[in-house]
């Protein structure tokens, strides 16, 4: 026979102050951990949204980011011509050379920051048809000193608005449009490849992107493993990744865009993940201690009642479960309180440095249902761990001794 659950719910209510303090303590812990997880979510969405498996990214072998990679203009063109897997569009191959550079601009808050600048060619817009939209003004005209800016920069970086002027080295560029992109491009400035190369005194693009014909297998190894292993895995034999890596004319490292984006986020995701786990463990430990204290004092106050329950014929296991249930409810309420505390963070803007390219990235906290789910399960786990020892003690009480107390 089980102890009625209402018994536990009432006893939580009777001991209001202890319950409230424990719930708030667990809540604060959970709110912080879910805040960090929400930051990871926002960061990953920002970076990997729009990552596509049918778009290939070509980098120079040995390069790990767009900043590292470099092709001369001729070699970029040669590369596009020599890869038969690239899909054909209305105006030739769906491939574009892109230049990528961090430029020093002034944020509205003052100081200086590095903002990513991307020079692109017309096919880029054909490839990005479904994901990128001009929401204000118009696109830049090819060959002109015009720019379009990602919506996330508007109001954040000086000059990044319709009609603004951004001077790159010595050439003034006019902002003619604002575009929206859910992924990383939404925090970038785009312009014509050749005009930007000329203005910055650079001699070639950094990478080539291309849409692949349906069914093409790239065959690239997991880039995270390539980056972090002393013995990096090689591309699959007979695929385009293996062929291009050893190409005699223009050797290149190929990834799918999804793979490439994952490789660019791995460091910060790892750092934030480490922070979340470390905080969760350390603060969780403190929260477990609090929960144990609360449940121990609940036990002390109710020793007499437990004696009665035992005398009435309740077995130790139902008593153990009864206390565990009480601890679980304590954790659950704590989790809900923590979620309520974490919710206001949703949408709060965060900006930090991308350690791979030293550019500033703007993204937002995202308190998703997954984050809340993690928060509540974490809180319930804290409650259970905190309740285990007191529940064990309660179950081991001797009825005669327990009855004599209180």
């Amino acid at each position: 026979m089980f102890v009625p659950l209402s018994y536990n719910l009432r006893s939580l209510f009777v001991r209001k102050s202890a319950t409230l303090l424990t719930v708030l303590g667990i809540g604060a812990t959970v709110a912080i951990v879910s805040g960090v997880v929400a930051l990871i979510m926002g960061f990953r969405t920002m970076f990997t949204a729009g990552g596509r498996d049918d778009v290939a990214v070509f980098l120079r072998p040995g390069a790990n980011s767009e900043g590292d990679s470099q092709f001369s203009r001729d070699r970029g063109l040669k590369l596009i011509k020599s890869v038969p897997e690239i899909a054909e569009g209305p105006q030739g191959p769906l491939a574009s050379m892109e230049a990528y550079l961090a430029v020093l601009l002034s944020p509205e808050r003052g100081g200086l920051t590095n903002v990513p600048l991307r020079g692109v060619q017309t096919p880029t817009f054909e490839i990005r048809k479904g994901e990128l939209a001009i929401i204000e003004g118009e696109n830049f005209r090819p060959g002109s000193d015009e720019l379009i800016v990602g919506q996330r920069l508007v109001g954040h970086i000086q000059g990044c608005h319709l009609g603004g002027v951004i001077t790159l080295n010595k050439t003034p560029f006019r902002v003619v449009g604002v575009f929206e992109h859910e992924g990383q491009f939404g925090g970038e400035i785009w312009g014509d490849l050749d005009r930007l190369l000329a203005a910055m005194g650079r001699y070639g693009p950094n990478r080539v992107i291309a849409q692949l014909a349906p069914g093409t297998e790239i065959g690239a190894p997991d880039p995270t493993q390539v980056m972090f292993s002393d013995d990096p895995p090689q591309p699959k034999e007979g695929t385009m990744a293996a062929r291009l890596l050893t190409d005699t004319e223009v050797p290149a490292k190929v990834y799918s865009e999804t793979q490439f984006l994952a490789s660019q986020t791995v460091m910060l995701t790892g750092l934030l993940g480490f922070l979340a786990v470390a905080l969760g463990l350390i603060m969780g430990l403190a929260a477990i201690f609090t929960a144990t204290n609360t449940m121990l004092s609940a036990l002390a106050a109710r020793t007499h009642e437990i004696g009665i329950l035992l005398a009435m014929g309740f077995r130790p296991i139902p008593i153990f479960l009864s206390f565990m249930f009480e601890a679980l409810v304590l954790g659950l309420i704590g989790g809900l309180a923590g979620s309520v505390m974490a919710l206001p963070f949703n949408g709060v803007r965060a900006g930090t440095m991308n350690f791979q390219t030293f550019t500033e990235m703007a993204f937002s906290f995202r308190v998703t249902p997954l984050v809340l789910g993690i928060a509540i399960s974490f809180a319930m786990m804290l409650g259970l761990l905190g309740g285990a020892w007191p529940a064990w003690r309660a179950a081991r009480l001797k009825p005669t001794i327990a009855l004599r107390q209180g």
Binding site: A18, I32, T292
Partner: protein
Amino acid sequence: MMASFKLVWRNLTRRPLRSVLTVASIVVAVFLICSLRTLITTIRAGVENADSRRLAVMSATGLFVEMPMKYQAEINKIPGVELTTKFQWFGGYYRSQKNFFAQFAIDPDTMFAMYPECQVPPEQIEAFRTNRTSCLIGEVLAQKFDWKPGDTIPIIGALHPHPDDKAWEFQVAGVYHSSVPNFDNQTMFFHWDYYEETLKESGPMPGVGVFSIRVDKGADVPRVIADVEEAFQDSEQRVDCVTEAEFQRQFVTMFGNIPLFVGWIGSGVVLAILLACINTMLMSMREQTAEIGVLKSLGFTDGSMFGLLLVQALVLCGLGGGLGILFAWATSGPVAEQLGAMFPGYRIHPETYGLAVIITVGIGLVAGLVPAWSARSLRCVQALRGTD
């Protein structure tokens, strides 16, 4: 007086497990607060320790845009400039990217004069000067990879690939030690000439990432800055000239609002621990109710009962705070090693320990106040009746 201390101690050890758990949570919290604050002070250390006579010159377009080498001669002509040296970020890695550390191509003739904090035994400097393909490594690097003078290190040039498509090779000539917290102990410095001559064969003339300037003693720094920027107004690359503090500050601002979030986390930790302590103190107050009644009927004043409870809270928090500080201090070495790549020079400041003391005493006072006040206002008859 002694008797009341004994009473405090007896009350705290009445439920040893509860006191131990509370003290343990405070230890954990204090450790966390010390570590989090140190992350922020570490990020800012560069700004605070900057040398006011040193300036940095970089391309006005961005840190990754190179300036022509000939700029150095132009800068040297500007009145007030005592010394200049050049740096180029190499951006390579040893075997795989997880072993990331910074490498710079430098000019040995001016570099050591510019940065006296970079300390190398004289015979190692000499060995470095005379071997064109040699390098100097920071003592942390030497320790981490077990590199010794005479070893050859292969570095894959991710940003500057070797023209023969192989790894660059550097012989370790010496190990430097930095005497200040903002000069990183895990960087590799190698010869500019080796860098320039290797790359010149295959591509365009390599450029300079950053020029460092030291101004004359008592020079008018704002004027020198203005003169440097003016000098290249019409050249192929415009430049930004900033003080060393400002240069470091740019890296700090790049961390964005991460320091702010770390502050929020710290406040959350303090809040959670405060609640836990209040909880503990309320519980023990409830258990002591009858005794307080007895003590009061024996003639102990309201004030001494107030003190009894408050001192219990303070002792509990003091114990936790002290152990927490001890723990943070004892683990700072291994923590610094773990975080070294991201936060070079991780070191807990004395002020951080001071902050931890203030926080724990504050928590003790706040947590003790409510039960202490109710102990003070408790009436004997009520208390003696036993139940709360």
